[in-house]
Symmetry: C2
Amino acid sequence: MESIDIHDVELNGGFWEHYIDLLGEKFLLHQWDILADRADGTAKSGCIRNFMIKAGRAQGSHSRPVFIDSDLAKWLEAVGNYLALRRNDKLASLADEAIALVEAAQDSDGYLDTYFSLNGIRHFSNLRDGHELYVMGHFIEAGVAYHRGTGKRRLLDVAIRMADLVVSVFSAGGECERGLPGHEEIEFALIRLFESTGNRKYLEMAGEFLKRRGAEDNWFDEEKKAPDYREIYPDIGSWGRKYSQNHKSVYDQDEAVGHAVRATYLYTAMAEYARLAGDLRMLEAAKRLWKDIVSGKMYITGAIGSTAVGESFSASYDLPNDSGYCETCASIGLIRFSAMLARSFPDSGYADVEELALYNTVLAGMSYRGDRFFYVNPLESDRKKIDGNPIYSHVRPARPGWYRTACCPPNIARTIPVIGSLAYLVSTDVLVVQMYLDSTVRLSCGASLRFITDYPCDGNLAIKVSGNVPESFRLMVRIPAWCKFKAISISGEKIGTPTFDRGYLVVGDLHDGMTIEISNEMPCRMLHADPRVSADAGLVAVGRGPFIYCVEECDNGPDLSSLVLESVGKTICLDGVPAVFPCVVAEGSRVVFPEGTLYSDLPERYEKTEIRMVPYCFWNNRGEGRMRVWLRCRSIVQRDFP
Amino acid sequence: MESIDIHDVELNGGFWEHYIDLLGEKFLLHQWDILADRADGTAKSGCIRNFMIKAGRAQGSHSRPVFIDSDLAKWLEAVGNYLALRRNDKLASLADEAIALVEAAQDSDGYLDTYFSLNGIRHFSNLRDGHELYVMGHFIEAGVAYHRGTGKRRLLDVAIRMADLVVSVFSAGGECERGLPGHEEIEFALIRLFESTGNRKYLEMAGEFLKRRGAEDNWFDEEKKAPDYREIYPDIGSWGRKYSQNHKSVYDQDEAVGHAVRATYLYTAMAEYARLAGDLRMLEAAKRLWKDIVSGKMYITGAIGSTAVGESFSASYDLPNDSGYCETCASIGLIRFSAMLARSFPDSGYADVEELALYNTVLAGMSYRGDRFFYVNPLESDRKKIDGNPIYSHVRPARPGWYRTACCPPNIARTIPVIGSLAYLVSTDVLVVQMYLDSTVRLSCGASLRFITDYPCDGNLAIKVSGNVPESFRLMVRIPAWCKFKAISISGEKIGTPTFDRGYLVVGDLHDGMTIEISNEMPCRMLHADPRVSADAGLVAVGRGPFIYCVEECDNGPDLSSLVLESVGKTICLDGVPAVFPCVVAEGSRVVFPEGTLYSDLPERYEKTEIRMVPYCFWNNRGEGRMRVWLRCRSIVQRDFP
């Protein structure tokens, strides 16, 4: 049987239209201005300047941080991903200019890392802290993406030269044959390059890096012994081997530990390497780690990393809403990790997690206008607390314009345009619809499928088939965890007993001209946390569709922790909130407390009030104020599905 | 009219008997062994050895920390306070030996600080970090206490020489005439010395120190300019002037800020100086600061200091139960501060706070056997969380044997034996009964009052008058906030309409042989926090009398945050808990959560269970396990007073 593949995915509008427009019209141009030190009113990045100095086109010393090159790499990847969707000559020309600069800055042996080069530090001499493999990993991902998006090879060739250097230095017999990256990224990048070039040595090198983690003779201790070793991040030593997931073999790891971005980048590579290499033990380990995250270490917003110290995972069920780290990049890592597992295990739970992270934490990571960014995404924010207690000092009560460590903004930029690749998976005879996206999927067999949906405003999806597909070809359409399947009709005729499989609705017998209409209820939901999550004890959160809701000061006054939810609520529009973000209004009350006392044994008194909620991702788009996700509740009668 | 004073207070038994016994039989001897490096199985302190080296009786270098001398000073104060209550030749002889050593170590000009002397640092050259005035303040308090407790002058003379040095160096014309202590303590010590000696210059020096805080030309910046300045605690600089309450004049301070122990030691001195010097503006400032603490910055256990960073106060209503600092010493400071204010303002609210801090946080600071100590007293403890997240790293899941910074254990030791001075205040014609204590108060007029009570097991108090008091003499007996006054009878006859004044029951016409019986209800109470305390939103705590209760793993299993309280509970005895700590059993349930998911929209299911609670101060006396004060609740019907 002929194997069917996805030829391309075109976004037709809908929820993501705004963000795609934003990328081309503002977001990516604004980011370029910052990287090139041309933005007004924002701190200078120095990123492009580092490459200029390295290429001999400018004078000066290196602007930190260590991994700053990756900001440009992610920007190039984002532009490549964007150009796959839309034409934009301005962006293409800026990117081509940047690629020429990158090429000029690259050493003849393929090496590129401005921090090490400009500071005269021996290459690969501090893999624990140095981020060279992280930076080059991002350039490799960028090279693959830019080639796929534009057909241009120049950055892919840069990437191949880098990857060849990495293979020669780090594979058996190379000068760093036991070396491994402190911050994972190169592994997944090499896998991508293997997929793009078909050259298996890249996949093998990725596997080598994965399997080196947790070795008894720790390379990070070894490299310190060199006379020219230079410490870069002394803290990393104090956090121990778990910080870099280097405490045991990846085959034996069963708890998500350490720096949450590093962890998810590792797990993503494990899942995808295991699938491509047929390494079932590694696949099981990846699945176990995913389960550990989602069953005890993930906030309801799809955020991960409960502690700012080491930007790390903490113990299961330790999910403080005010002091958690919840880095935007870590949720992007979780999306990629879940997406890779979904390629091996068709289970709609992976896409549920992807959507939670995407529609909540990742979107919260940027302002609706695309010019301000959160790095940390807490579930409770109050400037007074933040200013008064340094354990919250990593939290910002409003999105800043840029960061010195600016990993998150370009990471959002490279993620949004590939939403099509998250939404659709294909195997020989199945197209798995992971997300509802207003889009057209063209298949390699010539047929195309038009998906029409207002998701996440509602849970309905219509699919129009054009052209012919093989008889065995089926669709598996995910019914999201937050929707209740209502009906499916095919070309107007209701199907009485549809087939479900692992959270998917299965539709076969596709033929030209056929229309499939799926309707799902998408009620407001009252969510409880596992009672072991002490921070959420006795509280509820409101969800509708993939959105988790929060209360903001501008809608509810300053005392958000005195609000008591008394109904599940219904959707409304709120002033200043675009219609694509359905808001929720619920009946509730406000605790009235005796004046002048901090603790009281009097029965609590309540005043009726309406509680107005906005999708969490939209908070802080109408000025600065307090915000809170988890609310008190009283006598909630859960709405039953009909 | 002749002024009546308290001649002495004798403790007759009751709740405090155990702790007084413990002091003499174990606690103070054990602490001596540690200070003298004679304890087995505990880290060596080096405290006595520093004095030996300074006195030329040993060789070696100084054992840190900077303020280690104060451990001995507080121990001597504790012994002095103890010997005022009980005879103990062993302790007296150890203390006399220590006093001789201290005397030998003191410089001829009165200076004593082993850290500065042994390290050859110029005296008073780093007042911000150096703790010399703190150390000497504690020796002055010790000198006064030891003299009062034993009649021996030797340590008092050491103290007077110190104080005279301080006055000559720090008063106008002295070499440090603008200097002030980084860690407050000397102020209150000088006030004590004034009270003991009648020498007003000590009171004036205390006032000078108080009034120097917040000066525009900051001494702590000035002293840094000296060529021989040596930094000791670099962090202190980064925490700013608020850390040492040096950000504005004490007259203008209205928010409790900075290091909580420093703050309360300052406020204590402000309150007492203002009373003695008739400084009403300063008294108002002290009252305002107290109000700021108790209305927004105090845990329900009387603990203060919400953040470990700088061991400091945080913003109002920021009272995290798991990451707060809640230092034992800070609660001792709060007790002293409240007690000093109570001397100026007869209002039972001050004693309510004293009892909360004393019966909960201070008693939790030591094991029931007196050999292990908490420095940090969180309201929630879970070793997994503590080990997994460094923001809890200051929290210990079980009491250690000793600390490198061992300020708390001797602070508890000096506080317990002076409970009599907290319990009774006297002014010209009123004896104010602040606390119910099984004790005898002998008045200067020759009469005595025998107080008989089982408090805090119940809320009743009988008073027997022996001898005659002037006709105008009255008793003001506090009705604690957690008791409901039921009845008073005098020599068997019930009084129909007793007189109340600011939380006190007023009893006049005292005469020889009279018996006053006061009965108060002491129900279990369900306590809510001000809803602005986000950490307690939707939760309740249980109190009975001054005790706040907690649930422990050994009584309720590990999942304490899944417990839901459904009744106010009644007292019971629990195995392993002495009868003086009434326990509470309440009806409740346990949330049963669907397996394998972290968040769920299913209605919560509950299983009936009994919830067993112990007084917070008693936790971790039956092995290590989880602990929690604030609990979920459901449909609580508050018990109404009859």
